[in-house]
Structures are given as C-alpha cells and as structure tokens.
C-alpha cells in the first residue's frame, strides 16, 4: 500500500455498493435476455431494453382496484427498499468490511430478502386477483422449501469461518490455500441451485412465458401497473444481482475487489463485479436453453436435491476425515 494516495471514504464506497446494484441490475438482466435470445436464434431485445422499460413504466399512471388497500401500493416500495439494504451487508466492492457491514450477518441478509418477497406476496393477496394469489401462494410454498437449504449453507459458512459474516467467508476463499474444500464446493453448488430457484430460472420457472398457470414469481406482479410495477421489476432485477453477488463474491470468486479503497481499485471492482455477474448470467442463460421446465409437482424433488447437497456439505465437515 503506497502512502499518500487518495482513499474513497468508506461511507462513499458503501453508497457506491448500493448504487452499483441499483444501476447495474437492469444491465445484467438485459445482457442475459439478449444472450438467451441469440442462443435461441432470435435477434433479441437491446441490452439496454430493461432501462427503457423502466423509464416507460415510470411515466405511466398506477391503477388500483377499489378493493385494494394501502398495502397494495406500499409493497413495491417496501420490497425495493429491502433490496437496497442487502447490498450494505455483503461484499459488493471491497474486501474489507464497511461501516454498516456488520449490521447483519448472512441470516440477517436472508431475512431482509425474505421480507421483500413477503411484502410482494402480501400485495398479490391484497389485489384479489386469482392468478396473483396463485403465484404468491406458490412462491411462499417453494420459498419455505428453499429455506432449509439456505440454513445448511449458512451452517457450512459457520463451520468454515467460525462466524456467519459474508466478509469472513470471502476472505477465507481469497487466501488461496483454503479455496477448495469438499464442503465448500458442495455448499456453493447448493447455493447455485438456490439462486436458480430464487431468480425464477428454467428448471423451476420460465420467466419469459405468458402462461399464468406455469408462473410462480412472475404471476405475483400481474395486477400492478405504472411506477409500482416498475419498482417491482427493478426490485426483482436487483434481487437477482444481489444473489449473483453473494454467489460470486462470497462463495466462488471473490477476486477483483478493492482492498484499500483507492479510487482506481473501486472503479475496477465495479467493472469486475458487473463482468463476473454477466458471466454467471451467461451460465444461467445456457442452462435455460438446455433444460426443460419441471412440472410444478416435480419442483420439490429439485429442491430436495439441493437440500441433500447442502446436508452433505455439513456432513463432510462433521464425520469426514479431518
């Protein structure tokens, strides 16, 4: 570390973490849907299309049914602010923890994400529309089934680092001699499957379809319009990027992050994160094209497989040879 260079204030970096997620999320979604279309032989939407969509929705008016209460309108805002909070807790740009980084651990981040999902489900139930309620009920059911997997992944983090702080695990992965351990790999694979479920990707859900009966997450927002819908779509793009960030910067490849807060390294970290997220998105796009959607009643089997892998990860630590 050379003395006398300018350092970006930790609070500014923290704000940048949130800003990166907010501004970068639609870009990552745009790249994924573009690549997905190209893989299917279509020309596909422009990479910046999600931004145009958001801008259009923000100019429109919000329509609310007579039966809906304030919950219907508050939910998009609550969900959006939940997804704003999580980037404060996870290593988005830096290897060192920022002032509010210890505000919550991995479980805390999980709770905040769950609160976002809960408020959207509440709004869907409030709308009174059958498809939105169907989606909300399914999302909650499968969310409950995903939860044990997440818990076991957190246990693995705890066993590796003796803490449950995302920064600590990322630090463990970076010190290269500890990078690869069977339990760690199994936990990363289990978390990969969780991301697949939580972002509504193909073995679980087609996110491009228009058939309401097959929808899970998508169906919940059917009744929203205008700025409220924009916030929900933006929020789900942010949730996707947050989950990608956790998978990349905590489990798989926490490289290219700023270690000293120098302006150049922070800018580099933003580029690195978006680049890695796009690469991961390409993996998801390829999976989208290779596999068929599972029948709804087969999804618990998929989740059971993810859970099994997570359990195995913990078991490897306890009964495996030390």
């Amino acid at each position: 570390m050379t003395p006398g260079f300018a350092v970006v204030a930790p609070k500014a970096v923290q704000a940048l973490q949130v800003l990166t997620i907010v501004v970068g999320a639609p870009l990552v979604s745009g790249v994924i849907s573009h690549v997905e279309a190209r893989l299917q032989g279509r020309r596909g939407p422009r990479i910046l299309q999600p931004y145009y969509d958001l801008a259009k929705l923000f100019r429109k008016e919000t329509l609310v049914t007579d039966e809906s209460s304030w919950v219907f309108l508050a939910a998009p805002v609550v969900a959006f602010s939940c997804y704003l909070i999580v980037p404060l807790l996870i290593p988005v740009l830096t290897t060192y923890p920022l002032p509010l980084g210890y505000m919550g651990d991995i479980l805390g981040g999980g709770f905040v994400l769950a609160l976002g999902g809960f408020s959207v489900a509440l709004a869907a139930a409030e709308s009174g529309a059958p498809y939105a309620q169907l989606g909300a009920s399914r999302a909650m059911t499968f969310g409950a089934l995903v939860e044990p997997t997440i818990l076991f992944v957190v246990f693995v983090v705890g066993l590796i680092t003796s803490t449950d702080l995302p920064y600590a695990l990322a630090g463990t992965v970076r010190s290269s001699s500890e990078i690869v351990r069977p339990g760690h790999v199994l936990a990363a694979v289990a978390f990969f499957l969780v991301v697949l479920v939580d972002t509504g990707r193909i073995p679980v859900e087609t996110h491009t379809g228009t058939l309401e009966l097959g929808m899970i997450d998508e169906a919940r927002t059917l009744e929203h319009s205008g700025p409220a819908l924009a916030l929900l779509q933006w929020g789900s793009a942010m949730k996707q990027l947050v989950l990608y960030t956790i998978l990349i910067n905590v489990f798989v490849a926490p490289f290219g992050l700023s270690s000293n807060g120098a302006p150049g390294s922070v800018v580099g970290a933003i580029g690195a994160l978006l680049g890695k997220a796009v690469l991961l998105g390409l993996v998801f796009a390829v999976i989208d094209n290779l596999f068929a959607k599972l029948r709804l009643y087969k999804i618990p089997e998929f989740l059971a497989a993810a859970f099994g892998i997570a359990v195995l990860a913990v078991v490897v630590f306890y009964v495996g040879p030390a």
Binding site: I160, S177, I179, V180, R181, P182, V185, E301, L312, A322
Partner: protein, 222 residues
C-alpha cells in the same frame, strides 16, 4: 473444532472427487437412459482430469499415459458403444426406481454419510494419504451400489457398475499413484470386458423380452 486446511493440490483433488460424487447423484436422478450415459462420460472426464492433476503434482509420467488411456476408453469409446446399443434397442426411459426420487436421494445421502463416517473412523492420519478424497471415493462407490440396487433396467445397472469403477479409480489414484501402470491398465481392461458382457446382456435381453427391465428376469425362477 480445529478446522483442517488442505493444501491447494489436495483441495483440487477433493473438488474433482466431489464433482464425481455429484455426478453419481445426478445419475441416480436422471430419468433418461441417454442422460445416464452422458453423465457417465462427464464423470469419466472428471476422473481423467484427476489423473492429470495427480500426475502433474507428483511428477509421475506414466499416470499421464493412464489419464490418456482412461479418457479414450471411458469418455469416448464406452459412451459411444452404449449410445449405439441404446439406438438399436429403441428404449428411452430408464426402468422405474423401486423408490421415489426423493427417497432414493435420501438413501444415497445416508449411504454416502456412512462412507464418510467409515473412512473418518479409520483414524488414518498421514501426510501422504488425502483421506478426504478417499472418503469421497468410498461414497461414490456406495452410491453406485445404490444406483445398481434401486434401478430395474439393464442399462442403468451397467452404468452404475461402470461408475463404481470410476470411484475405485479415484481411490486407486490418490492412495497408490505409484502403482505400476500395468496394474492400473488391467483395471481398465476389466472395464472393457464388463462393457462387452453388458453389451451382450442388453442385446440378448432386449432380443428375448423386447424390454430392458430386469423385472422380467424374475419370472425365470424355476
């Protein structure tokens, strides 16, 4: 609990071994016979990569030859032969498992936990023996047994047997990398014999009963 930290080499071996184990689980789940064969090819590829890693880190030139041989045999030839056989018999779905998918996953999980526990309770501590990889290899062998026991069609059982050989290969590679090449090659030719035997079984069985299910064989009891 003091957390043991493996060296990078041992770590890479562990990761490849874990990939093999995950493939074994996927084979247990795969409903199509073709996907079984593809998963086996991927699993064999991982084993070949492991052989290259072992050869590179322990400076054993003849293991490179073994890696090449196992790549040609297990990633190219065996899957090609099996695919050819499958094209002739015109059956797509694997025989139904005796348990549901979730239950068989649980059984496999319990069995692999037993494998880990068994190797862990040996209390063998040696800097030369990567006991984690050994534990994973034993789990692979046990899950392959589960696959053979639960699936009721000839092809799945054959693939289970071949992937069992993969598990044994991993154990052999990490425990006795210095074993003479002749011995290791003999294992591979054993596999070749098994392929021929299973090929004949598939042909004859399908020729007689127009199915690949082994349930038919029960009726042969005297």
């Amino acid at each position: 609990m003091p957390v043991h930290v493996p060296s990078t080499t041992a770590g890479v071996e562990d990761v490849v071994a874990v990939l093999v184990l995950l493939t074994e689980f996927a084979m247990l789940r795969g409903p199509l016979l073709r996907s079984q064969v593809r998963l086996y090819a991927f699993q064999s590829l991982a084993v070949s990569v492991l052989a290259v890693v072992v050869a590179a880190t322990r400076h054993l030139a003849d293991i490179y030859a073994l890696a090449g041989l196992s790549f040609v045999l297990k990633v190219v030839i065996v899957p090609a032969v099996m695919t050819r056989l499958l094209r002739d018999v015109d059956v797509d779905l694997a025989g139904s498992s005796k348990l549901g998918v979730a239950s068989s996953m649980l059984v496999a999980l319990a069995v692999s936990v037993f494998g880990f526990f068994a190797v862990g309770s040996l209390h063998v501590h040696s800097s030369l023996l990567p006991s984690t990889t050994l534990a994973v290899a034993s789990a692979v062998v046990l899950v392959a047994f589960v696959l053979i026991v639960l699936r009721s069609d000839v092809v799945s059982q054959a693939m289970g047997f071949f992937s069992l050989e993969n598990g044994v290969s991993i154990a052999g590679l990490v425990i006795a990398a210095g074993l003479p090449l002749v011995v290791e090659t003999t294992f591979l030719f054993d596999l070749l014999v098994a392929v021929v035997a299973f090929g004949i079984i598939i042909r004859v069985h399908h020729g007689r009963s127009r199915t690949l299910s082994t349930d038919e064989l029960d009726r042969l009891r005297g």
